[in-house]
Symmetry: C2
Subunit: 331 residues, 2 copies
């Protein structure tokens, strides 16, 4: 019988997440029953939504249970199988959590082709973050060629895909990111038309300069003062895809002062959780996979090494210290 | 040559509107040219949107010009015509402003049937306010039988129609209004399931008690603290029709503290101006007219007497002193 390590939620954070909110444990891998498969995880995905699950406050999903394996997307290899659809060696994407290994009954486990798309991309541009971008753009923002699109957290796993998809549509795309390094990446490597460094402290003025024809659609990952600065720039009948509010995940005041522009600009705003729209995933993942395989959709990863590094990497993610998709590489 | 009185905007208000922001003038009625019609107005409509037009701030329409007749909907009679489509004696609804008479070239002038619907109703339940209610309900809120709908400014010209239409759909309908008299009217005469008196100072607790199964759709006329109290009660995939923000029309802080619930409840919010959706008016006005004629849609009017009373009645409207549709009767 083999054993493996996992990380459980030890305590619900108050305000900022601390390393002591997590606990590393060694557990025994159980014998497989019929219909089960044992997966060795190669990469864990770290995502902002996990912060919400750590709280007990009303949210869109049940809270992460205390003393249970932290939730999260994973990619890995099947190492033992008593499941008819999975064989040893299969590359799989799943939601197996912060653990070196996990037993699955096949639910939400999906075989993936790694011949043209790297395994880790199935946690990013060709996974849940990519789908969040695809869904918000195609089902909420509906950008037309020539329109101006603003994307917050623009260098991140979601925002980077939103902006590149909007560029492929012929939009003017303005990103917002933290720091000159991320902004240079967004503008120079991802091809956004402009990127505003919110850490420079002139978001409203910089946004006005970068959106001379106003803003037709916003993909919002951050909320708070950055979203407040964008609202007065919106054009009539603008659209807002509300995907995340990372600025408030640690309890900061998330008041919106410029709410009235939702009326005066006759905006349509929709909050969404992409895992509630699985009917779009086959089409979206197919399109995203082809774009990545064809070199038309770029992404960047920040990779922490070893399971024990996950809490620190997650805390860094909430502080914007990652650069692109935050992963943890195991083994 | 006849003369008539009109009211012009004399000054742009700073903060609360004052009587001195208006000026009563006597002007000569011009000779009619070919294609023109002279209308004697019987009623003027006073509506919250006019406050927005009085400012120069960016809004959805051009500002009301200084020293020009105040904008506004009107109903009246044709008293002279050189227009092929209008005859003396025709009852007409138009946008002729705060004036006893006006010359029109027929633009936005419409003959109405007063045999089953009173003339003044074409400024209320069977006019622009009724259409705002109809559009928000049918094109944004999409309420299903059994769902809970919240309507602010529930005794007003728009809110009263929203709630009655939602009741006809089989919804649980909760109004918010100012004062026990308006609330009694909303619950007892209009048939809402409950009405919350925001002046009682317990909006959050009262709203929780009145919406035991949460809120599925909101028709928002007010904004500010009342909307903030409703957001945490929203159910997943709720809809918000954002029609007005009267709480902020005089410059009050309209911050929304509970903005995050737009994400956590995955709400769809849309700000709208019903005059931008004229394609729905024939259908909507037909339905509303049949409901009023059949006694299935009730409304209440507050009628000020004489043109000189218009500024005071408008100021009262912004303070919530009207009860139902605010009109000015002329002549």
């Amino acid at each position: 019988m083999t054993s493996y390590q996992r990380i459980v939620l030890a305590a619900r954070p108050r305000g900022e997440v601390k390393a002591s909110d997590f606990r590393l444990e060694t557990v025994a891998a159980p014998e497989l029953a019929d219909g089960q498969v044992l997966v060795r995880n190669d990469y864990l995905s770290l995502d902002p939504y996990m912060r919400g699950r750590m709280s007990e406050a009303k949210s869109y999903a049940a809270p992460q249970a205390l003393n249970e394996t932290m939730i999260g997307g994973t990619v890995g290899q099947v190492v033992a199988s008593r499941h008819p659809k999975f064989a040893v060696g299969d590359a799989v994407v799943g939601v197996l959590g912060w653990a070196e290994m996990a037993v699955s009954d096949g639910t939400m486990l999906r075989k993936v082709d790694t011949s043209r798309v790297p395994l880790s991309a199935y946690l990013g541009a060709v996974g849940m973050p990519g789908m969040a971008a695809w869904y918000g753009l195609n089902q909420i923002m509906h950008p037309k060629a020539g329109e101006t699109v603003v994307v917050t957290a623009a260098s991140g796993a979601v925002g980077s895909v939103v902006g590149q998809l909007a560029k492929l549509r012929g939009c003017r795309v303005v990103g917002v990111a933290g720091g000159p390094q991320k902004c240079a990446y967004v503008a120079d490597e991802l091809g956004f038309d402009a990127c505003i460094d919110y850490q420079a402290g002139n978001v409203a003025a910089d946004l006005a300069a970068a959106t001379p024809h106003g803003i037709d659609a916003i993909f919002e990952n951050v909320g708070g003062p950055i979203f407040d600065a964008a609202l007065p720039r919106t054009n009539a009948f603008g659209r807002v895809a509300l995907c995340g509010l990372i600025a408030g995940y640690n309890g900061a005041d998330m008041s919106i002062k410029n709410f009235r522009f939702l009326l005066t600009s006759r905006l349509t705003l929709r909050g969404f959780i992409v895992t509630e729209h699985m009917e779009y995933w086959p089409q979206g993942l197919s399109e995203l996979g082809l774009l990545v395989a064809g070199g038309k959709l770029r992404y960047r990863e920040t990779i922490a090494s070893g399971l024990a590094a996950a809490p620190g990497a997650f805390i860094g993610l909430l502080q914007g210290k990652n650069f692109g998709k935050q992963l943890v590489k195991l083994g």
